[in-house]
């Protein structure tokens, strides 16, 4: 962390740690109009208090970070770190303009939103969940901890890494958005997640003491019906009640002809 204490820089490790902790509540006051603008300003507050001592400057700092912002909450430390560095450069008159900060935020928020949503929400979370479910079959409640560890440990480490990289590289940190390791990890997790979930589906749906019974046949029938309807882009909220009705009718029929 020698970059954090080298001459000419005003922010220290404590400030970055403060931003890091605040970033966990980045979405706290999400609004339909300006999305996470208050969250962004809230996370940048420690930077403003250190860099801008004049009340007018501090006011301008707060107002520019209350602009519209919409990005992924897990990737925001990358933007926060870079913007903190840009604010430092603005203060020291190192060729940085207020417009540059604004434009950087606009450009990176969308890109980080797309990359972060894909990696964290669409890949890491479901992968952690299916692995947690698999672990739950063998180790019961430990499966819950497997899921929490699988999601949170990489997320917390990456958030800190991105914050420090952002601070170190400034606007050049956009290269992190094209990180090949992340892309490869996401691809592997998607494929592995698919394998585990289909394994679980076959092993679980064919249960019933592994005998061919009407219950097993009915379960597989409802599985196929649900897949077919969902593939036609019909909403879960419509498909699921239909599946429930079919399941109840099937349950009544089985009960009538045991």
């Amino acid at each position: 962390m020698d970059t954090l204490s080298s001459p000419g820089k005003r922010l220290n490790l404590r400030t970055l740690l403060n931003i890091y902790l605040r970033s966990f509540f980045f979405q706290g006051s999400f609004s339909i109009k300006d999305r996470q603008n208050t969250g962004f300003a809230f996370c940048m507050e420690p930077v403003g208090r250190i860099l801008w001592n004049d009340p007018a400057d501090l006011k301008a700092f707060r107002l520019r970070h209350l602009e519209y912002y919409n990005g992924n909450p897990f990737m925001v430390p990358l933007v926060l770190g870079a913007v903190a560095r840009m604010e430092e450069r603005l203060l020291s008159g190192d060729g940085m303009k207020i417009d540059d900060i604004s434009q950087f935020k606009k450009a990176v928020s969308q890109a980080s939103g797309a990359v972060g949503d894909r990696f964290f929400w669409r890949t890491l979370r479901p992968f952690g969940l299916v692995l947690g479910l698999l672990a739950a079959i063998f180790y019961g409640l430990w499966g819950v901890f497997v899921f929490l560890a699988l999601f949170n440990i990489p997320t917390m480490l990456l958030k800190w890494y991105w914050l420090t990289q952002g601070y170190k590289l400034g606007p050049k940190v956009v290269i992190e958005l094209q990180n090949q390791y992340i892309a490869r990890a996401a691809h592997t997790m998607e494929n592995t997640g698919g394998i585990i979930l289909s394994f679980l589906a076959v092993a679980f749906l064919s249960r019933q003491e592994y005998e061919i019974s009407w219950i097993s046949a009915g379960t597989i029938g409802i599985f196929i019906l649900t897949i077919t309807l969902l593939k036609r882009k019909i909403s879960h909220s419509i498909v699921f009640p239909i599946a429930v009705c079919v399941a109840i009718i099937f349950g009544i029929i089985i009960d009538m002809f045991p």
Partner: protein
């Protein structure tokens, strides 16, 4: 009464973790329902309910301003109502199985209510946000932290209010099951297993949309081999 207070508090935490922070996913059904199972002394049932809801809502993510049913709150409140009904009405295991289907339908309704309330809170956050900016522009001292904490607190309160109203309501609704004819209860019991077909399909479709069909084949073959292994083990 103490358990009820804990249930309400956890409801607040679930709502907060889903939309505000710290977003460490303790609000996911597999975690919150397992915790409920632990609280009521039935950890395995809690885990099963968590798995059921988790697969159902696997594809639903709190992405930005996306208007999605609040599956986390739906799962938590519904399971809390189910376990409370189990304790109040002394429901035995078979009846509990029969209540699984009504509990899942109730979770969808709760999820919709959660969505509406979240939208209202986000509108309120916007109004508060505009007010803060206006005050800041006049040159007065403003605590952004305080405004932000109010937003986080709104989510906590949202969850707690939903818990106060919807957990007892769910418990009462699930208690009614006990007065249904025996034939209906039997049908519901059988359906509780059949519904796993629908929730697994919901999980599978989430991965299917990525174009990884051949990996499903590998997993399915693995599943079949696993069953054969168990059958051979049984002799």
């Amino acid at each position: 009464m103490n358990t009820y207070a804990v249930l309400i508090f956890i409801a607040g935490i679930v709502a907060m973790d889903t939309t505000s922070g710290p977003q460490v996913l303790i609000s996911e059904p597999i975690v919150s329902c397992s915790l409920l199972g632990f609280l009521f002394g039935i950890p395995e049932t809690g885990l099963t309910m968590g798995a059921l809801f988790q697969l159902l809502w696997l594809g639903y993510m709190p992405l930005g301003a996306a208007r999605l049913t609040d599956g986390n709150m739906g799962a938590y409140i519904s399971t809390a109502g189910l376990f409370t009904a189990g304790r109040i009405f002394g429901l035995h295991d078979d009846i509990m199985k029969a209540v699984v289907i009504p509990a899942m339908l109730y979770s969808i309704i709760v999820g919709y209510i959660g969505l509406r309330v979240t939208q209202s809170i986000r509108k309120l956050n916007g109004i508060r946000n505009d007010k803060m900016r206006q005050v800041l522009e006049t040159g007065e001292e403003v605590s952004i932290k305080w405004y932000h904490v109010k937003g986080i607190g709104s989510s906590l309160v949202r969850g707690m209010i939903m818990g106060v109203i919807l957990i007892p309501l769910g418990a009462c609704l699930f208690g009614i099951i006990t007065v249904l004819p025996l034939q209906v209860i039997h049908a519901l019991m059988r359906s509780s297993f059949l519904i796993w077909g629908a929730v697994f399909a919901s999980g599978i479709i989430f991965f299917w949309n990525r174009g990884i069909e051949r990996y499903f084949l590998i997993g399915s073959i693995g599943g079949i081999l696993w069953i054969l292994f168990l059958l051979l083990g049984k002799g």
